[in-house]
Amino acid sequence: MKNKIVFILGIMTFTLLWACEKDIEIEIKETEEKMVLNSWLEAGEAPAVSLSNSIFIFSNKQSAEIENAIVKMFENGKEIGTLTYQTDAELYTNESIIIKDFHEYEIVAEHPEHGEVSAVDRVPEKYGNTDIKMNYKNNVEENGVWPMYSGEITFEIKDKPNQKNYYLFKHITITEEYNADVSEDTVVRKSNANYGLEINGSQGKEVYMSGNSFIILNDDIFDGKSTQFRINSYNDLRMSESSGPDYYYKEYHQIEMHQISESLYRYFISLDANQYPDVFTEPSQVYSNIVNGYGILGLSTKQVFTIDEKRE
């Protein structure tokens, strides 16, 4: 009997404490679709712009590319051309325009249904060759079974004083492949090297993205000063090459150092913070510099360092 009473009281307690759920309505003010403009323009390259639409949170529709918008481009306030939609690439481009270092660009996109969006950003001033040095060292560790290779990349940067600078380091793997059985052409593939990079002696100031193939940081810890930091890579970064009568294969690595605009930096930081909202993580907005829309117009310069040490 005593046990029964205890059992009943136990059930009562838990029943009373049991959480309950119900659907509720929260009136969201933003109900209309907005145009989404995504574009990362590199100095020395032609512009490419993606246009799509946002989806109202309660809708189950899919976002789609917007094909029939008028996209104009301005350089330092002057219109320099129109970007046209390339169906294959699903992008608006104009090969006659080349993005220049330290210029301001504006993109205005107009669509009969989605209205007009615009964004302005400036390309950071590119560092000279003497401002940035990159060194690469290959390490081998024998664990008794097989050798473990890793790379140590050292960057030395003369950070520009009196301005806020933002950097992005990217590890790219490039393969060149020719196979006579498949095609007469040599196929070149370029991919982010996931799980590649990590700053040696991290102070927690950098952000890793895209499976550690990107490192993004600002100059807070070395503002205006020369700095040197090492990036570890848990990959064998040396070039490998093999060939035969009917095939040729080459794989090599590049480390790109981008000087990115503040907008692009803020976009990446916000994207990183937005990734995994849960009970213990305050959700955050994705940064956008698009007027009347979402997305990002980011600008950067790029210096590419190819690692040409060949594997034995």
């Binding site: 046990n3 205890v6 059992f7 009281l9 136990g10 059930i11 307690t13 838990f14 404490l17 959480a19 309950c20 759920e21 119900k22 659907d23 509720i24 929260i26 969201i28 003010k29 907005k34 995504n38 990362w40 490419a48 993606s50 639409n53 946002s54 989806i55 109202f56 949170i57 309660f58 809708s59 189950n60 976002s63 390339q86 690439a89 699903e90 481009t93 070149v188 593939r189 370029k190 991919s191 982010n192 927690g204 100031k205 895209s210 990107f214 803020r266 916000s270 990183d272 913070a273 937005n274 909202p277 213990f280 993580t281 305050e282 959700p283 955050s284 907005q285 994705v286 979402y294 990002i296």
Partner: protein
């Protein structure tokens, strides 16, 4: 500045010279039956309305002009005493008051020197008995929940004991138990507070206009004094409730010289739930949760001038899951033991010495120790015994610890210069040892792991203060003071000078206006990831990278007596500015152990303003209060919400509390509460869209495939939306029955009387049509409970 100093000195000299022809009475004001000090009891001359209030130890000192006077002594809930005295020298005079009989008369409050007479504003006292009458969740009387019913004080989420005062955070409240800071005042993840109402004498909450003697927190002081213990007779008090039971025993060590009280409480949720859990897990799992707390206090009077108190509190919460099994096969035996859990608790101790240097100068010396520790752990052991007797053992232990320890000492002087000047001054030192977070793993697997940046941090906090309550002109009373404090951490000093002033102008005997200004500094931060009082909130110090929190608060108000003094009404407006607040950076997660806490936080500012209305009736068969707060509360952090200001999570435009008690007879009383609050501010997803494609995987070098299939949810501005509003009614009925041995009572309470599903948390989910929906998680629906209480007075029957 010099001019002001000279003027003040001149006033002091004038008062001193005037006081030479006067006599002084001093002594203690106590409860006649128990000898308990009546903290804050008023003593004054009705003819002149000049008077004073007893201090925390029941001591008073009052100047009497001339040789004769009529003295009146009063205390809420007690019968007032009036005494005609003749004096030819300074005299020691102790008073003993008896509880009032609320049924036989409506006690008129008029003339009881209510709040309108005091310079102190934005503060209130709640007697323990009033707290006990308020209906409670699962019948567990809760001091902090009672405080949440006062205007300007808000609770966090459903059921939580978190306190948010005038826009401040939960860390900005200095919760003192007998003068010792309590860092985590929550049991059961915040649903109950750690204070056992049976062991409490008095609770005072100060929300603004802080006198200079208080420091170290920005938003409030919650000063909880434990009972001293019955000086006359042994008695016991206790109760049996649905989830816990409690027992207090108190009595004289030596009659009228010393007393002791010991009080304990323990839950039995683990015992009640065990059969249910076993039934649902085939008997394998052993899950449980319990909390207990134990209070003890003793005091001894060594003479007319010396009294010593020693008090201690310890309390622990533990949630655990255990496995313990073994099995044999083919002459081999496997044994496995595992325990994982969360455990947290506080220990506080205080040793106090009261010394009366003269009838004007009172000293309290306190030595304190306070410790709060939180531990998340797993402890595993396995043993394999093979048929040939070979034994193989493995063990694994992982623990995440966080805590804070304080060693403190303080000297507080009360100097009663004259009826025009009551001066308080003192010094205080606290040695803090912080362990914000530490994670270590040990085991037989060879490697041991220790979290980076898990070193202890040592902080030294110094403070000195002086305050004077004086009456420069008739009807105008001023409490002015200065609190100076400094914090030394990681070889960095943070000094702070905090001026404080409160004024009261008596327009007439029923109406006064008040104004106050207070600057505060706080050298600790609570790094919190939720508002539900999780023990995982980390106490961290100001460091060389993170500055101390600062605030400036201005308040103005009107205090009034209505209905021939039966009702007390007040309205106050305030503006509070807060600097150097900390929050987790966007996207940071406290569960991420790869980063130190300092790299996960960002600093910013906050401000809040609003007005509070209180109508209160303290005495009579029917008593209670109505409180209403209209407030705005914002934060601005450069790294949050793109630098734009945003509403604080507990920005609550409207907050209403109604508390009513009615005593039908000596045997039966009823109480009820109703609360309403604007819904908490939340951030919600409002749209989704494709992100910039940065992934070059499998892209042909000359192609542009920029369009990404990856979508991201766009959230609203931080805290731009609201949860549904919160409201709830509770009802309590109590039957008292006199017994030969004392008194028994049965209490029935109903929490959430009309079964309102109040929001605890808002989540989103995608339904079968691929559409996003919001869902509300509610915790407590209607919860009836019953409890039995008893008081044993063997010597009185």
């Amino acid at each position: 500045m010099n001019k002001i100093l000279w003027i003040k000195l001149a006033i002091l000299c004038l008062v001193i010279s005037n006081s030479e022809a006067q006599h002084r009475i001093s002594g203690y004001i106590k409860d006649v039956k128990t000898g308990e000090s009546l903290i804050g009891a008023n003593i004054w001359q009705p003819a002149t309305s000049k008077g004073t209030a007893a201090n925390t130890y029941g001591f008073y000192s009052l100047n009497i002009p001339g040789d004769t006077a009529t003295i009146k002594v009063s205390y809420v809930g007690y019968q007032s005493q009036e005494l005609f005295i003749k004096l030819n020298k300074d005299t020691t005079l102790h008073f003993q008051l008896s509880l009032s009989d609320v049924l036989s008369e409506e006690v008129v409050v008029k003339g009881n020197r209510p709040n309108l007479e005091l310079t102190k504003m934005s503060s209130m006292k709640i007697p323990a008995q009033q707290i006990k009458n308020i209906p409670a969740l699962l019948g567990e009387v809760d001091v902090l929940k009672a405080i949440q019913l006062m205007p300007g004080v808000q609770g966090g989420t459903e059921g939580s004991s978190g306190i948010y005062v005038r826009g401040g955070g939960p860390d900005q409240n200095l919760i003192l138990l007998d003068g010792v800071p309590v860092y985590n005042a929550s049991h059961l993840f915040g649903f109950f507070s750690v204070f056992n109402a049976d062991a409490i004498n008095n609770v005072e909450v100060v929300k603004g206009g802080f006198p200079a003697r208080y420091g170290g927190r920005l938003s409030s002081v919650i000063d909880i004094n434990m009972k001293e213990g019955n000086m006359q007779n042994w008695q016991a008090e206790g109760g049996i409730g649905i989830i816990s039971s409690r027992l207090s025993v108190e009595g004289p060590i030596r009659k009228n010289k010393g007393s002791i009280i010991v009080s304990g409480r323990r839950t039995y949720i683990d015992i009640l739930a065990r059969p249910l859990i076993k039934a649902n897990t085939d008997g394998d799992a052993n899950l449980g949760y319990y909390f207990y707390d134990l209070n003890a206090k003793a005091n001894y009077i060594f003479g007319d001038k010396d009294r010593v108190y020693i008090s201690a509190y310890t309390g622990t919460d533990k949630f655990y899951a255990k496995d313990d099994y073994s099995y044999s096969y083919d002459n081999n035996t496997d044994e496995y033991k595992d325990e994982a859990g969360i455990q947290w608790g506080n220990i506080t101790t205080a040793l106090r010495w009261n010394h009366l240097f003269s009838n004007r100068l009172f000293l309290n010396t306190t030595a304190t120790y306070s410790k709060y520790n939180f531990r998340l752990f797993q402890d595993s052991y396995s043993k394999y015994t093979s048929g040939d007797g070979t034994i193989s053992e493995n063990s694994y232990y992982a623990a995440y610890n966080s805590g804070i320890q304080d060693y403190g000492t303080r000297f507080d002087f009360d100097y009663y210069l004259s009826n025009q000047h009551a001066i308080k001054f003192g010094v205080n030192y606290i040695y803090h040892i912080f362990q914000p977070e530490a994670f270590n793993v040990e085991g037989d697997f060879g490697d041991e792991f220790e979290m980076p940046n898990s070193d202890l941090i040592y902080g030294n906090e110094y403070a000195a203060y002086v305050e004077d309550e004086f009456e420069p002109i008739s009807k105008l009373k001023i409490n002015a003071g200065l609190h100076a404090s400094a914090f030394y951490v990681n070889q960095k000093w943070y000094p702070s000078l905090q001026p404080r002033i409160s004024t009261r102008y008596l327009i007439n005997e029923n109406l006064s206006v008040k104004a106050s200004y207070a600057e505060m500094a706080q050298f600790l931060h609570l790094l919190t990831n939720s508002g539900i009082g999780l023990p995982t909130d980390l106490w961290v110090p100001a460091t060389d990278n993170i500055k101390p929190q600062l605030s400036q608060q201005t308040a103005v108000g009107i205090s009034s007596l209505l209905g021939k003094g039966k009702y007390e009404a007040s309205i106050e407006g305030y503006y509070k500015n807060m600097e150097n607040l900390i929050e987790y950076k966007e996207g940071s997660n406290f569960l991420d152990l790869s980063e130190s806490w300092e790299s996960k936080v960002t600093t910013g500012n906050g401000w809040s303003y609003g007005s509070e209305f209180l109508l209160r009736k303290n005495e009579g068969k029917f008593n209670g209060w109505i409180g209403y707060t209209l407030s705005w509360n914002y934060r601005q952090f450069d790294e949050l919400n793109f630098g734009k200001a945003f509403p604080y999570k507990y920005d609550r435009r409207h907050d209403i509390s109604i508390v009513a008690n009615y005593k039908f007879s000596e045997r039966f009383e009823m109480s009820g509460t109703w609360v309403y609050g604007t819904g908490n501010a939340i951030t919600v997803p409002i749209a989704r869209f494709p992100v910039l494609d940065t992934n070059d995987n499998n892209q042909y070098e000359d192609d542009y495939y920029y369009y990404s299939e990856d979508e991201v949810y766009q959230y609203s501005d931080r805290n731009a939306y609201r949860m549904p509003s919160y409201h709830r009614a509770d009802l309590g009925l109590t039957w008292h029955k006199p017994k030969k041995w004392g008194e028994a009572s049965w209490s029935i309470s109903v929490y959430n009387l009309y079964n309102r599903q109040n929001p605890f948390y808002i989540d989103t989910y995608t339904n079968e049509n691929g559409e996003k929906n919001f869902t509300q998680i509610s915790l407590f629906q209607i919860i009836p409970s019953i409890s039995y209480s008893f008081k044993i007075y063997p010597n009185e029957k």
